[in-house]
């Protein structure tokens, strides 16, 4: 190993380059100036200037989910760092590999009143603040430790159950020049993710699946992050088992496949919610039995034998008791199951279970209209699916727009449906779409938004226009905080306290003010035309889509109820 003399800032950026980082999203400030100055002579790294640090964190998250590679965001100390917090918490809940770098006030120096621990200007204890919402965080103390600390940050963020890692970088260490040795060596004795499944557990799972009369597969976000969609598909087709996904698992299985049931959960597809309760064997992969997915856990598949594959041992038995726990990488576990299962299973397309699924599907999932007359969220989203190329990456905001998307916008491939499932962060979708577009510049990227959510991070229109990152935003505009208003309608006797947003701002003019294209669509043909125009546009396009202000997302499982108690038609 050869030692090179360089500043901490250079050591950090070179370490990032060695990790393959080509783009970072950030917003600078005093305590991270040396890093930004060093960016001047690291042209291999493109810096994308956001207008609020939350946007940087969400963009890094969207980048990571679209590409499968860690996304990186930079912020300064204090308020810059705390503005990242929502984005970091979001990445943590949805297990997304985000690397956050924050500037920090100096750890030592000439001006001792401006130092860590003295409540200095723009000082925040970001390590303390982010401990419960990061997979790992670390404050750099020396220049020499930087190469290994960065390697380990990327390793921890992207292996096992992925998650965000924060590196806090005191300003004096950024500026200090010292000898740096490059190393790829990773030595974390407290971190050894189990990726290989236990053979005995695999055997038990295979026995259950081979004997199953009514098997159902349930795929979560872990299938996507483990790139295990092909393995899932082969098992499903081998068993002729229908596949439901959690909301986070949307895209892990093509939703136009004859075995697809759609998503389960509070706003799940009634077909998925019904069939999963009839299963005798449930194979759940890369999911955590979250409350929005299972409904009341007492009535969640009580009679099914449950096989649970997850890479995070702490998820096994946390929310639901299971019969066969398998702690492993989803891809490895599914291939092991397939290799054994293939010798034991005979397909029977005429089985009672296949007939039952067909019947329930016909009853609960009516086929789509070809030329819908109605201009409603359902028909709008079904129309959108028909227009968008299969490679399109869709992000969503949070609320009704998101749940309508879950119900009616069919995801066809992994990493093409990106949404804030765990934290439910309004304002996530738009900056995430910018991140996704940076990761996949040749593919169309569309944010399905609501007016309430879009306004929360709308300032990133400036980022997308000036940085030339064209995306499409479809604002389902009901002039309401629609999902909360729906709950007020259903459970608070229509008392619309603080949910009416009015018609401000004018979304078309707003887009134009930023130099983006603004369009409005009031019918299906207008909508088709607007989307086609947006897809061709060289600049970001906001399509304002006015919809009724009292539109409900149904079907719905009321809070506290089981999946069997879903109300409303699909």
């Amino acid at each position: 190993m050869t030692a090179t003399k360089m500043s901490g800032a250079d050591a950090l950026l070179e370490s990032f380059e060695r990790q393959g980082v080509k783009e970072v999203f950030g917003l600078l400030g005093g305590a991270i100036l040396p890093v930004y100055d060093a960016l001047c002579h690291h042209p291999k790294i493109r810096h994308i200037l956001v207008r609020h640090e939350q946007g940087a964190a969400h963009a890094a998250d969207g980048y990571a989910r679209a590409s499968g590679r860690p996304g990186v965001c930079f912020a300064t100390s204090g308020p810059g760092a705390t503005n990242l917090v929502t984005g970091i918490a979001n990445a943590y809940m949805d297990s997304s590999p985000v690397i956050a770098l924050t500037g920090q006030v100096p750890s030592s120096g000439v001006n001792t009143s401006y130092m860590i621990g003295r409540d200095s200007f723009q000082e925040a204890d970001i390590i303390g603040i982010t401990t419960p919402i990061t997979k790992y965080n670390h404050q750099l103390r020396t220049v020499a430790e930087i190469p290994q600390a960065v390697s380990q940050a990327f390793y921890v963020a992207s292996t096992g159950r992925p998650g965000p890692v924060l590196i806090d970088f005191p300003k004096n260490i950024q500026a200090e020049v010292a000898a740096v040795e490059w190393t790829e060596h990773i030595d974390i004795r407290g971190y050894n993710p189990t990726t290989n499944p236990h053979p005995l557990q695999i055997r038990k799972a295979v026995e259950l699946l081979a004997e199953a009369e009514r098997p159902v597969l349930l795929a979560g976000g872990g299938v996507i992050s483990a790139n295990a969609s092909d393995e899932l598909l082969t098992i499903a087709e081998l068993l002729l088992a229908p596949v439901a996904t959690t909301f986070m698992g949307k895209g892990s299985f093509p939703e136009i496949h004859p075995l697809s049931l759609g998503t389960i959960g509070m706003h799940g597809n009634p077909l998925a919610n019904k069939m999963i309760l009839e299963a005798d064997v449930l194979l759940a992969v890369g999911m955590r039995f979250g409350d929005r997915a299972t409904g009341n856990t007492d009535t969640f598949c009580p009679s099914a034998k449950k096989i649970h594959i997850d890479i995070d041992a702490a998820e096994i038995g946390k929310n639901i008791e299971v019969d066969v726990p398998i702690v492993a990488d989803a891809k490895k576990a599914l291939s092991s199951i397939y290799e054994r299962l293939i010798h034991q299973v005979k397909k029977n397309p005429e089985s009672v279970w296949q007939t039952r699924i067909k019947d329930v599907r016909n009853q609960l999932n009516p086929s789509e209209q070809n030329e819908p007359k109605e201009f409603k969220p359902k028909t709008i989203l079904q129309t959108l699916r028909k227009i968008l190329p299969e490679s399109t990456i869709v992000t969503t905001e949070v609320g009704q727009n998101q749940m309508w998307s879950a119900l009616y916008f069919k995801a066809l491939r992994p990493r093409t449906f990106i949404s804030s499932g765990g934290l439910g962060t309004m304002g996530f979708g738009f900056p995430a779409s910018i991140g996704a577009k940076v990761a996949c510049p040749d593919r169309p990227v569309v944010d399905i938004a609501g007016d309430g959510s879009f306004i929360m991070t709308e300032q990133e229109l400036a980022c997308s226009v000036t940085e030339d990152i064209p995306v499409t935003v479809i604002v389902l505009n009901n002039s309401m905080l629609g999902m909360v208003a729906q709950w007020q309608r259903m459970f608070y006797k229509k008392r619309y306290m603080a949910t009416k947003l009015g018609t401000s701002p004018d979304m078309v003019k707003l887009a134009e003010a930023y130099g983006a294209q603004g369009l409005r669509a009031r019918s299906i043909p207008e909508f088709q035309k607007a989307v086609s125009e947006a897809l061709k546009s060289k600049v970001t396009t906001v399509i304002d889509v006015p919809i009724g202000s009292e539109e409900d997302v149904v079907p719905m499982v009321p809070p506290g109820c089981g999946l069997g108690q879903q109300v409303g038609d699909y």
């Binding site: 004795r189 407290g190 096994i316 946390k318």
Partner: protein, 164 residues
């Protein structure tokens, strides 16, 4: 129930462990922390309450923390547990002084400081034994009390070690 963990001797590790307990609603009854015979490793002994399932979750959630290297649930029947207490007992009169000293001898404690109005006693043992001693001292009045919390080791050859 007692959980023993080996953790990296780094800043912030105690915070991340105690923070995880707080955030997930687990209850720490006592926690003791100190160096071990293994370089760079600190041992935490944590006494917790809860059923089997809660304990399993606690152990798993601790294991998830990157700086926690190893976690063991210690079986109550196969461990030695100790706690140390320093107790300052009021001495209202001369007769009480000798009564207290007798008591201390019975409990195999030691008088470590004497003043005209008080005695300081050092006592080690299981938490139950210390409770019993403190109960007796209440008659004289306890002026001040410091307990270390419980620490524990498994009996026999079984030990918590990190493979080199």
């Amino acid at each position: 129930m007692v959980i023993a963990a080996l953790v990296e001797n780094k800043p912030g590790v105690l915070h991340s462990v105690s923070n995880m307990f707080r955030r997930r609603g687990f209850n720490i009854e006592s926690i003791t922390v100190g160096h071990t015979e293994q370089k760079g490793l600190t041992r935490m002994t944590i006494t917790v309450s809860g059923d089997e399932k809660t304990l399993e979750q606690i152990a798993k959630q601790m294991n998830k923390l990157i700086d926690v290297v190893k976690v063991n649930q210690l079986e109550p029947e196969s461990i030695v547990t100790r706690e140390l207490a320093l107790v300052k007992v009021n001495v209202p009169d001369i007769k009480s002084r000798s009564d207290i000293i007798n008591c201390v001898e019975v409990f195999r404690g030691r008088v470590v400081d004497v003043s005209t109005e008080s005695l300081m006693v050092e006592i080690t043992g299981t938490p139950d034994k210390i409770d019993a001693f403190l109960n007796l001292m209440k008659t004289y009045g306890i002026a001040e009390l410091a307990r270390t919390g419980l620490t524990a080791l498994s009996r026999g050859v079984k030990s918590l070690k990190v493979d080199e």
